[in-house]
């Protein structure tokens, strides 16, 4: 509200009466679009990964076995046939466990994988960055199968607090299913990275929309 006392004189930088146009740099818009599209694709990929990266269904399980109790006799391992070079994941059944005991039990699992045509491999539950827990299954770790019959034998080893030690003296069932245990984490990374890129594209879009009024000249200040 300026009233009759005030005369509108345009932009200061254009001199009296100027009506300068706001100039928008298309580079910002293109950058915003590219980053936005890349972000959207990444987020979609992440969502798809999360949807498909859930715990294996019963039809996907290729082998089942028991984790031998701490100090006990070896238990029955999982036997399955797989093509050479395929990624597999060992999942521990953790239904009914409280989260603290579950983490200790998962971390105490050590599995030996006998693979045709490849050196035996050891998978430790304590060596994964984070155990992915989906439903009543938690990941112990992943390995690459050899072509033919593979054997996975697991046992509990000493790990964690003494008061939880008794929980390791019990055998726990495990299963083997194709897939990479880090797929879930990767999916999360794609999702959040994608969302961040979309947000960044929004900021660039604001920059583009705001534009610049090109200076006619600049005054001197002290």
């Amino acid at each position: 509200m300026s009233g009759p006392d005030v005369r509108h004189a345009g932009w200061a930088i254009g001199g009296p009466g100027s009506r300068l146009r706001r100039r928008r740099n298309p580079v910002w818009l293109v950058l915003a679009l590219v980053i936005g599209i890349v972000g959207a694709v990444a987020a979609a990929y992440g969502i798809a990964g999360l949807v498909s990266g859930t715990a294996p269904g019963s039809d996907e399980i290729v082998g089942e076995g028991m984790v031998a109790p701490l100090g006990g006799a070896p238990a029955a391992g999982a036997r399955f046939t797989a093509p050479d070079g395929t990624a597999h994941t060992i999942w521990l059944r953790v239904d009914g466990m409280d989260s603290r005991a579950r983490d200790t039990i998962v971390a105490s699992v050590v599995c030996t994988v006998e693979r045709p045509g490849r050196a035996p491999s050891q998978v430790r539950g304590s060596r994964q960055m984070n155990a992915a827990v989906v439903g009543d299954l938690a990941t112990v770790g992943g390995f690459t199968a050899g072509g033919g019959e593979n054997v996975v034998a697991c046992r509990h080893e000493v790990f964690g607090q003494l008061r939880l030690r008794d929980r390791l003296r019990t055998a726990h069932p495990f299963v083997v299913a194709p897939g990479d245990p880090s797929a879930g984490i990767l999916a999360f990374a794609f999702l959040f990275g994608g969302l961040a890129a979309i947000a960044g594209a929004g900021v660039l879009g604001v920059f583009w929309h705001r534009g610049r009024v090109r200076p006619h000249g600049s005054g001197e200040t002290m």
């Binding site: 509200m1 300026s2 009233g3 009759p4 006392d5 005030v6 005369r7 509108h8 004189a9 345009g10 932009w11 200061a12 930088i13 254009g14 001199g15 009296p16 009506r19 300068l20 705001r210 610049r212 009024v213 200076p215 006619h216 000249g217 600049s218 005054g219 001197e220 200040t221 002290m222």
Partner: protein, 475 residues
């Protein structure tokens, strides 16, 4: 019986005298508090002699607004039922101009015998480059070569597009008040000098009067030998900060703060002389009002509360109090025309703030209008309509004094009293005493408190800012 009565009267007088503040106590009061004290003294005196007190209601004592607006704003009486506000823009303009014409007629008897033309050109700047762009405008318009025709240049104290974050990339308007008939040939770009408020430019000890922004500029330019005829304007540097205002977050706040003062002088020897004075700071600034220079500070905010309470909308038309000016620029023009100020005598004119002021907190009306969003789109200087939060607390006019201006100020006082029914002079409220510095331990505790308040978003507990340009105190 007569003796007993005399004794009783004497006892009552002595008791009155005991409760009466001393001269020293009165000197510490603000003019408004002194006015209230005088009011109650007068009322008590009337009661003592059994005389009926005929003065105004006690709720108006020491207030800026008296008369009908004061009575309504301060709750002495209920407002009259008002006609529906005009929404149509063309009709709004028509009503506004008709009311304005009536106010102009009411002002005519008070006008100075010799007056100078007054034009207020409003220009848009990009928030980040206001000073530089305004100096460029002064050069492009040729006004920089005629500082004797320029009353002043100031940043318009409104917040444009208050819903957007920050002012840096937004639009900030400036008013150039001058007496030139039209643009002339391009002149050299003048120099804007900015003095940040948190820097100690003046040495003042505890209890001494603090420094008014314009006191500092007048002192600096006087030391540099730059008279008002060579000054292009003074503008307090304002910073507007927004917070809150989201869903469930209350109405939020848009706080205007003075963070410094700037002034514009022609380039060349004068600018060099000013730079030298600034370089040799601290500056010798006389205590109190400078001699030979008059700094008029007029209250605008109280009038705005009466005529423009919903700051996100245009002022309501018909005005609830059509005898009051609708904009601060109208009041500024009235002052210049009634006192008859010559632009060659002005150091600067401006509509600005003193203390930090929450513009949303000043706004009444519908609750959604108190948020950062909503309200009327109002035409800006660049020809684009935008949301606007109208601001401004004071009008400051700084000019070299002359005997004819003393008469002019008497005329303006009469105009304010008789027509506007208001006591607008705020100059006596400025330059409060420099307070004691908080001990280091308490300062540390305050800093912790500031951090806590920052995260709890509770700014209500923050104390008044320290005085500008003279903090910390000397000695």
């Amino acid at each position: 019986m007569g003796i007993l009565r005399r004794l009783a009267d004497r006892a009552v007088d002595k008791m009155d005298a005991l409760g009466r503040p001393s001269e020293a106590d009165l000197a510490r009061l603000s003019p408004a508090e002194r006015a209230r004290d005088a009011y109650w003294q007068e009322r008590a005196a009337a009661a003592r002699v059994g005389r009926e007190f005929t003065g105004p209601d006690h709720r108006l004592a020491g207030r800026v607004l008296q008369g009908p607006a004061g009575e309504v704003v301060h709750g002495v009486r209920q407002p009259e039922p008002a006609p529906d506000p005009v929404r149509d823009e063309a009709r709004w303009e028509e009503v506004m101009l008709a009311e304005r014409a009536a106010r102009d007629r009411a002002r005519e008897p008070y006008l100075a015998p010799v007056r100078h033309p007054i034009t207020i050109d409003r220009v848009a700047t990009r928030g980040v480059g206001g000073w530089g762009e305004v100096t460029d405008y002064l050069a492009a318009s040729g006004l920089a070569a005629s500082p004797h025709l320029v009353y002043g240049v100031y940043r318009v104290p409104d917040r444009i597009n208050p819903g957007l974050t920050g002012e840096r990339g937004g639009v900030v308007e400036w008013d150039v008040v001058h007496a030139a008939e039209g643009p002339t040939a391009r002149a050299a770009v003048p120099v804007a000098v900015r003095l940040p408020a948190e820097q100690r430019w003046v040495l003042r000890s505890v209890g001494r009067p603090s420094v008014l922004d314009e006191d500092l500029v007048v002192a600096v330019t006087a030391l540099a030998g730059v008279g008002p005829e060579r000054m292009l304007g003074i503008s307090r540097d304002l910073r507007m900060t927004s917070s809150g205002g989201g869903d469930g977050d209350g109405p939020g706040s848009v706080v205007a703060r003075v963070v410094g003062v700037g002034f514009i002088v022609p380039a060349g020897a004068e600018a060099a002389a000013v730079a030298e004075v600034v370089r040799r700071a601290p500056v010798q600034v006389p205590e109190g009002a400078p001699s030979d220079v008059h700094i008029a500070v007029l209250e605008w905010d109280a009038i705005a509360q009466a005529v423009h309470p919903a700051r996100r909308e245009r002022p309501r038309m018909p005005s609830p109090f059509p005898y009051l000016p609708a904009t601060p620029q109208e009041l500024l023009r009235a002052y210049l025309e009634v006192v008859g100020v010559d632009p060659a005598d002005t150091h600067g004119v401006q509509v600005t703030y003193d203390e930090p002021m929450d513009l949303l907190g000043r706004s009444t009306g519908r609750s959604w209008l108190r948020s950062s969003y909503g309200g009327d789109k109002i035409m800006c200087a660049d020809g684009t309509a935008r949301g606007r939060l109208a601001g401004g607390e004071h009008i400051v006019v700084v000019y070299r004094d002359r005997p004819e201006y003393v008469e002019g100020r008497d005329r303006f006082a009469a105009y304010a009293r008789e027509v506007l029914r208001a006591d607008l002079d705020r100059a006596g409220h400025m330059r409060g005493a420099v307070p004691k510095r908080t001990p280091a331990l308490l300062r540390a505790a305050e800093r912790v408190g500031d951090v806590v308040m920052f995260f709890s978003d509770d700014s209500a507990g923050s104390g008044p800012p320290p005085p500008r340009y003279c903090w910390p105190p000397a000695g």
